[in-house]
């Protein structure tokens, strides 16, 4: 799914949490959404998912699937291909068949099996009377997320990595053309983080993932968007974007950006210095 973020902004409590963001994440690839805590990553993901109505601009998506069209094209920003439509105007069920969003935290007090969780992804396809969740689609999603062996386990007994994999399977059960992930590598050990991002990258689905770990973003993303206080600070290939100057400006940290000897990707090595000038070191002679 082609995605154009055109001048999108929204206020929460009078403050622009997302402020005039323009971006075109590449189609069919993994885009990293970076920025410090509170930069607006989660809000931007919700805007892209169509769950929040932007107060400025619009998130435009190509809607090539047959289905009911948008109720109106009002609010469409210019300079986008005509067949793109504002995501928040897509009918809800139809939108849920095209776009899947995984939240940062997923908890439930209901005793669920893994299959129950994945079957939730079929809700946008359910008929009014049907009880059937298309078991084949659930199986496909479980297979694709490499979670088939977990199908009959109780959700509550899974490890963090397994849960994340199952949540991905739930998202895949929606058969989305656009996948939005909010810090999917949170609480995962390093192997699970690498595995998850490699998996998502290889899906071939347009994916935007909010990430905290800059090195993971540098290693796996084809494109990164860096948010700072709601504004887009930079966008592009990680090697072009993740520079010491940008890291100082956005995160207030000092870092060297090296090149990975095998992959050629940027590797960020942080240095132990305070953001505003060097910290006074302990006296040598004491």
């Amino acid at each position: 799914m082609e995605l154009t973020i055109a001048g999108v902004g929204t206020r929460l409590g009078g403050r622009w949490v997302v402020d005039g963001v323009d971006a075109t994440p590449p189609t069919g690839a993994l885009t990293g959404l970076l920025g410090p805590n509170g930069a607006g990553k989660t809000t931007l993901l919700r805007l892209v998912a169509g769950l929040l109505v932007p107060q400025a601009g619009a998130v435009m998506v190509s809607d090539d699937e047959p289905g009911p069209g948008p109720t109106s094209t009002a609010g469409a920003a210019g300079a986008v291909p005509p067949r793109q439509v504002p995501v928040h105007l897509l009918p809800r069920r139809h939108r849920a068949r095209r776009i899947a969003l995984l939240e940062q935290e997923s908890s439930s007090a209901v005793p669920l099996t893994v299959r129950d969780v994945v079957a939730l992804g079929r809700i946008p396809y359910r008929s009014w009377w049907g009880t059937d969740d298309d078991p084949a689609a659930v199986d496909r999603a479980l297979e694709a997320a490499e979670a088939a062996h977990l199908a009959d386990r109780a959700w509550a007994t899974l490890s963090g990595g397994e849960r994340q994999r199952v949540q991905i399977a739930r998202a895949l059960a929606q058969e989305p053309a656009l996948l939005l992930l909010d810090e999917p590598t949170n609480h995962l050990d390093v192997a699970a983080q690498l595995h998850l991002l490699a998996f998502v990258r290889n899906l071939g689905t347009t994916t935007v993932a909010a990430l905290h770990d800059l090195n993971l973003a540098a290693a796996f993303c084809e494109h990164v968007l860096v948010l700072s206080a709601g504004r887009l600070a930079a966008a592009g290939h990680p090697a072009d974007v993740l520079t010491p100057a940008l890291l100082r400006q956005v995160y207030g940290v000092e870092a060297e950006v090296l090149t990975h000897p095998r992959t050629g990707r940027p590797v960020i090595a942080f240095t132990d210095r305070s953001p505003v000038g060097p910290t006074p070191r302990p006296q040598e002679d004491r």
Binding site: R92, E103, S107, A109, P111, D116, I123, Q174
Partner: protein, 346 residues
């Protein structure tokens, strides 16, 4: 379902539930000071429904026929409808509030409905009794949720505390109104509204409770898929294509309507809505399209037996049925509390 968690098909569960409920109703009608045979009960019902010609089988003695048709059957059927309605309400509330402790009684809806009903009884307009109970339930629901949200996020624990407060207030109001207008045995009347009683059930009670169950219950059961979408919270429900606020308030209003209708005929019976959905979901799994119909059938069966126990255990004295449901419900509540010590509760 794949191997491992083999769940019975819904048709089997519903068929078993229907048979259990029908047998329960027939048997419960035979139980009481005057013991009747199941065949007599069946014949009496058959004659009244014009299924049997009056001259066909051996006629039922007039007294027995009156006991069946005028006393026990309306009461048993009301119990079945109320039990089903309360179980449905509990299951829906638990999903909408993502709170395993949610239940019309614990969240104050039942007491609010009692107050509403008692308030109009004073005025003497019994026709609007269910509507007043509905208004009371809705007000109590809004009160509980507002109180629980005030100054923080809505956690299951806060919701139950707020429900307790609203419930106590409404119960005090109910008691006050009855005392103020005392016409005879006000203690018994207060007890009936606060603890629940089916002693006054008539065919009119059957019409109100079964009517509400058929109309509102059907809508709730059909909304099963929407309820499933709330499993991981509001954002996830929205991402699955729901209009979250509209869905929640529509369904909450329907629950208040159902609870109001049930309380209007039976008073505030506790723990049916809390306990039955948890027990039933062990059989059906969490999908509401499966859970809701089976919970309704099980709730109906459960309350018929609870009421039968209430009216016969200390014969000729009768217990308020709420005492029986509490005796069964509180231990289950305790188990739920123990099990829920973990994350999602506080």
């Amino acid at each position: 379902m794949a191997a491992g968690v083999r769940r019975l098909p819904l048709t089997v569960l519903v068929a078993v539930g229907v048979v259990a409920l029908v047998v329960t109703v027939l048997v419960a009608v035979t139980i009481g000071p005057a013991h009747l045979a199941v065949s007599e009960v069946a014949r009496s019902i058959g004659v009244h429904l014009h299924l049997l010609g009056a001259g066909g089988a051996a006629p039922v003695p007039t007294l027995h026929d009156a006991i069946v048709w005028q006393l026990r059957l309306p009461r048993v059927l009301t119990a079945a409808a109320v039990g089903a309605g309360l179980a449905l309400s509990g299951a829906v509330m638990q999903s909408l509030t993502r709170n395993p402790l949610a239940d019309p009684y614990l969240l104050g809806l039942s007491s609010g409905a009692s107050l509403g009903a008692v308030a109009v009884l004073v005025v003497g307009v019994a026709l609007v009794l269910p509507l007043a109970a509905f208004a009371g339930a809705l007000l109590a629901l809004v009160g509980t949720l507002t109180l629980a949200r005030a100054g923080g996020t809505l956690t299951p624990g806060r919701a139950v505390l707020a429900g307790l407060a609203v419930s106590q207030l409404a119960a005090a109001g109910t008691s006050f109104v009855i005392f103020w207008t005392a016409t005879g045995d006000s203690y018994r009347e207060i007890l009936a509204w606060l603890m629940g009683s089916l002693a006054g059930a008539t065919w009119r009670s059957v019409a109100i409770s079964a009517g509400a169950l058929l109309v509102v219950g059907t809508v709730l059961v059909v909304s099963g898929a929407r309820l499933d979408a709330f499993t991981f919270g509001d954002t996830s429900a929205a991402a699955l294509g729901l209009h979250v606020d509209r869905t929640r308030w529509t369904l909450m209003t329907l629950v208040a309507l159902l609870t109001g209708a049930m309380v209007a005929v039976s008073g505030a019976i506790g723990f049916v809505g809390l306990v039955l959905p948890h027990i039933v979901s062990a059989l059906t799994g969490p999908a509401h399209r499966r859970l809701l119909p089976v919970a309704a059938l099980a709730g109906g069966t459960f309350l018929v037996w609870a009421d039968t126990l209430a009216r016969t255990a200390f014969d000729p004295r009768e217990l308020p049925v709420g005492i029986v449901t509490a005796l069964i419900g509180v231990p289950v509540f305790a188990v739920l509390l123990r099990r829920g010590q973990g994350s999602a509760w506080s």
